[in-house]
């Protein structure tokens, strides 16, 4: 069963316990200065944004069919069966196509290092594999970030909207965006207030490139035959022309 996170912004109190727990889990420094950063980086994988008294988390959406994993030439990024999208720094060669391809701008780079790597939230993959919730969900004091089976969380999100139709925006962000994501978001105000785009395609992104790439094995023998055939025809004409020339010469003699 694929796991997921449900973040309900109406329950969030901006205590930033999730940020703190995330930093601790990933061995990253965390202090007041870092807490104030309203963006994610190679050294901060999640952040709570505030717009007046409305809040919203940013973290890797851990897409069901992630663009980052599909574009990685060496398969350093992987979607695991349990939901997290993980990264193997030993495979990575640093082409940064994952960063260019991610529709949410999630993967970050260690620009300051001579031996850099990609960094992002991996939905606490080791914890999830061990049957534990993510660090952020465990740390959340109000239940705004909830860990569970994605299907169950989706049902619950629908129920919450149904029970309080005036409180919520009627949109579960991540249900269908780019084919669905493991992280689901609920909010009372428009997601675009927090730089979440509302015009993303509903299709899984990897199909956009794979529908072209998948034809290569068919294309190669066809195109090779075509080129060989053109060579054969263009040079045949020449042989014929030369033979005719010889014949004429022979006739004249």
């Amino acid at each position: 069963m694929s796991k997921g996170l449900l973040y309900d912004a109406t329950l969030c109190i901006d205590c930033k316990q999730c940020e703190q727990a995330c930093a601790t889990e990933n061995g990253l420094p965390y202090d007041d200065k870092i807490a104030e950063q309203d963006f994610t980086s190679a050294y901060k994988y999640t952040t709570v944004l505030a717009k007046g008294d409305k809040y919203m988390r940013r973290l890797c959406m851990n897409c069901d069919d992630p663009a980052c994993a599909s574009v990685c030439p060496v398969g350093a990024l992987k979607k695991t069966a349990l939901g997290p999208v993980t990264y193997d720094k030993h495979k990575c060669m640093g082409c940064r196509y994952c960063m260019a391809a991610c529709p949410f701008g999630v993967p970050k780079y260690q620009w300051d290092k001579a031996i850099p790597g990609v960094r992002k939230c991996i939905m606490c993959s080791p914890r999830v594999e061990a049957g534990k919730p993510t660090a952020c969900a465990e740390a959340c004091p109000t239940g705004a970030t909830k860990f569970g089976d994605r299907d169950e969380l989706l049902k619950e999100a629908r129920q919450r909207i149904q029970d309080n139709p005036d409180k919520y925006l009627h949109h579960i962000y991540g249900e269908t965006e780019v084919g669905g994501t493991s992280v689901l978001l609920l909010s009372s105000i428009d997601f675009t207030n927090f730089h979440y785009r509302d015009d993303l395609t509903q299709r899984a992104l990897p199909m956009y490139t794979y529908q072209v790439l998948q034809h290569i094995p068919q294309f190669v023998p066809l195109f090779g035959t075509l080129l060989g055939g053109i060579y054969w025809i263009t040079h045949r004409r020449e042989d014929v022309a030369e033979a005719e020339k010889d014949e004429k010469k022979g006739g004249a003699q």
């Binding site: 574009v71 060669m93 940064r96 260019a100 620009w111 072209v212 790439l213």
Partner: protein
Amino acid sequence: MTLRDIPKMRFTFWKAVFLVIMAAGIYCTYLRFFHGLGASTNLSDQFPWGLWIGFDVMCGVMLAAGGFTLTAAVEIFNIKRWHSIMRPTVLTAFMGYLLVCAALMYDLGLPWNIWHPLIMRNPHSVMFEVAYCVMLYTTVLALEFSPIVFERLGWKKALSVVRSLMLVFVILGVILSTLHQSSLGTLYLIMPNKLHPFWYSPLLPVFFYISAIAVGLGMMIFESSMSSKYFGRQLELHILKDMGRVLVVVLAIYGILRFEDLLARGVLHLVFVPGYEQGLFLLEIALSVIIPLTLLLIPKVRNSAQGLYLAAVVMLLGFVTNRLNIAITGVENAVGGRYTPKWTEVVITAMFVAMGFAIFGLAARYLPIFPEEEAHAPADRLPESVSVELAEPVHAGD
């Protein structure tokens, strides 16, 4: 001072320029590898790709497209008239791909892992396919180029082996080029919500492929003109005139397709909305299609060496703008910011361009790139005997 002295003096001037660029390049290389990408570039989490991918790689591969265009034309389509520029063109392509690979070592975060795609395969990744094609095509180009070296060394046996297999290399080269030239466009298909609608199109791979052919032809005109200027080589005007005509057709098809694509996707009206993207889009279209096409449609221009040279240079600049628009301009709005390369990035790029010119110059001096008998052949009529002789074997880089 005689006329002959002028090119010599210019050569000394360019040598000085070359040395200055190389010295700066070595310092920037140190910055890049000892202090990381952050210290040596303006790349950021918003702009993971900049000048090195946009120009050195994307434009580098495009500018080296003459290799597959000409080998296909001469060996597959049997256009013998064009054979005499085969060697310099294959040299340019081979050198171009080597420089692209070298530039990639600067841009990759972990360049020592560049071999990883060999054993860690992800066939769903366009980058994986490009990596394989570029690797294999560089090998094919080395083989196509090898007869020139074997001839110089007098290795008759190796020469005959490579020659007997040349048709296979040529066909492989055309297939591999078709795949990765178009795939550089496919790379961007994964960004439907990121790349500006001027450039994001399901036809991106087709546009990249057609423009690579146009640029391949343009580079041959450019390089023949330069060779005649700096190496005292006879200008093959009859070949360049042919290419001018082919360019008219290729550019017209490209232009119509770009127009139809904008129309079909319902974004044609954006062309009339003033803005940052609009300006750079119009500049690109003017330079890559409208100006060169107009110039080449005028018989006087199309039939003169200077006219062809001008049209080719404008078109090359236009397609360079196109690649930079896709790599940089087209994503600026979506990621919310502007990217301008750092001086170190510009120096490294300049270094690779300078190395391109220098390697071509050295190869032209020490390798039989311009065979003697052809160099002195009158430009407009190739002796009958030569063309018949050329018909026999398949000689891509030969």
